[in-house]
Amino acid sequence: MAPLSQQSGIRPDVPAADRSERLRSWNPADFPVPIGREEEWRFTPMSQLRDLLTEDASAVVGSGSVSVEVKAPSDVKVERVAHQGAQHDSRLGTVGVPAERVAALAFSATATATVLTVPQDTQLTEPIVVRAHGNGSAGADFGHVLLQVEALASAVVVLDHVGSATYADNLEIRVGDQGHLTVVSLLDWDVDAVHLSAHHIEVGRDARVVHVVVSLGGEVIRTTPEVTFAGPGGDIELLGLFFTDPNQHHEHRIFVDHSEPNCRSNVNYKGALIGEGAHSVWIGDVLIRAGAVGTETYEINRNLLLSDGPRADSVPNLEIETGDVASAGHASVTGRLDGDQLFYLMARGIPELEARRLVVTGFFAELRDRIGVAFVTERLTAALETELQRATSS
């Protein structure tokens, strides 16, 4: 049985000196209800979080509005385990501990968790698809997925999110030594969906992980990937694509905690924003601890503003506690569509709308091609096409 609460002893109203010292707990009551001034929540539209901010966390029960379906090759062990507060499966909560109230609430209020295990040395040839389907945004619902890719195994996992929901969940990912995982969270919700998702990722010794977030739909979508390393030589690539429409909030908060030697992390998020009230947030926190010698890390966020009105907040943050890093860097670029690129294409007879479409598609192409999962690439291409048509016809 995993411990239900694990606190660092820091009072929640005192700002933590860095990301690693924050209060962590599975019990929502350990966190005060946030008001939006906390560092963690300062960019999030708190008034739109509905029942996810309920005062009395102990009374919260999931509405059952989100159904989760798993399609997996037969090599994969798929379990649906009962999960209620102290009665949960001991494997749950072992990868990462929530650092904020909503993720803790999701942990305590989830009724059934999904555990997926790719056994040691198993090479999957087909992707695992976990499809969360929301049947309405009226009551809040909660979820939990534990994904274990054992040593020497390799897998591709797509977490597909569609429909309408008010949803908070935890995703725990453990990749064993020399394991390979590509995991894609495709957030293709209806326009009224609110989804707060805490990802906890543990990268094993010499393991390689590609983690992708694709934020397309929803009203408020917030994904917080946190990465730890369980041994030296781990490699994680954190990729993100988002297309943020008017009055849409897409937030990505990344924390990579380098504690092991000779690991590599590469963060690359790209977003296009259009219209009044479109708001994207990208926070890239990378911590290199004293023991993490030989670390190689780079993070970049690029945002493309397709009209007047959108706002893109982009905050890279690198903390280095060792003098022995291989390389470390970050960058953030937010700009408008390049007029010279449009001129060049149009001077070859290409109409303006088509030229804009080419430039924006090209902007995302580098990341799209790196995902390398046909199922996702096709969905992404189709979704971008729809977004661009909407964006250029308005």
Partner: protein
């Protein structure tokens, strides 16, 4: 036969300090099959003329006209001008990340020709044209102008010129930054386009070197935003030996009158 007629063209460029007049009354007529060399010192307004013809938004036509076969070009958007048969090979072609040369060429050809070219014929046409320009086939898979060398950019402009077959092609310093071998390849490309007889070429250049390979029908000397002298191919030879110095006075005179 097509004719591009430029009459008394005045153009200002948008700068941070407001509009600055550059062209001060340009008259020029080019018919398909002809080659006109437009020569002049840096800053004389040659590139401004090229951009004004193509319709770059930074350049404002304050008076005068540009007409292609009776149609007023100035009423057209950038892409409409290209579809009407104008082509500008740029001095500094723009990088377009994530858009492959193949995709770009096919999209442009579809727009200019009014229908998508038949796949098999198109692939052959592109491959043969690239071959004539001594371009590696792998080039087609790269992103437009991204990481291209100076020579590769110019060949890529020539490739587009040959595939889009415009009525009038404006080549803005297509010879700049090329070594002799690349200059020959590019010149041969221009000559192929000329020999078709369907395209009129306006060759904008600072140097006379390219005119050894591409013989112009007419040479126009540009200075102070106007054409100050016209002549045949022999004028280029005079310029080669005497330079632009003797036009400097005219430069001052026209600048002073404004």
């Amino acid at each position: 036969m097509s004719v591009l007629t430029i009459k008394d063209l005045h153009v200002s460029v948008q700068t941070d300090d407001g509009a600055r007049p550059i062209l001060r009354g340009v008259d020029l007529t080019i018919a398909s099959g002809q080659t006109h060399a437009l020569m002049g010192p840096n800053g004389s307004g040659k590139s401004t003329l090229a951009y004004a013809i193509a319709g770059h938004p930074r350049y404002e036509v304050t008076s005068g006209s540009i007409v292609l076969d009776g149609d007023d070009i100035l009423d057209m958007s950038i892409d409409e001008r290209a579809r009407a048969g104008l082509f500008l090979a740029m001095q500094y072609p723009v990088e377009v990340p994530g858009v492959s040369v193949t995709n770009f060429l096919r999209t442009a050809a579809t727009a200019v020709r009014g229908e998508a070219p038949k796949v098999r014929l198109w692939v052959k046409e592109v491959r043969e044209t690239m071959d004539r320009l001594s371009m590696d086939p792998a080039f087609a898979e790269r992103n437009v102008n991204e990481g291209f060398s100076g020579g590769e950019k110019k060949r890529s402009e020539l490739l587009q010129l040959e595939l889009l077959r415009p009525k009038i092609a404006v080549l803005d310093e297509i010879d700049s930054g090329l070594d002799v071998d690349a200059l020959k390849v590019v010149s041969e490309g221009i000559n192929r386009v000329r020999e078709s007889g369907d395209t009129g070429v306006m060759l904008i250049t600072h140097y006379t070197r390219i005119l050894r390979y591409v013989k112009p029908d007419q040479v126009h000397v540009f200075s102070g935003g106007r054409i100050v002298e016209r002549g045949g191919a022999e004028l280029a030879e005079t310029l080669e030996s005497q330079g632009y110095e003797r036009y400097a006075g005219l430069d001052l005179a026209s600048a002073g009158s404004n």
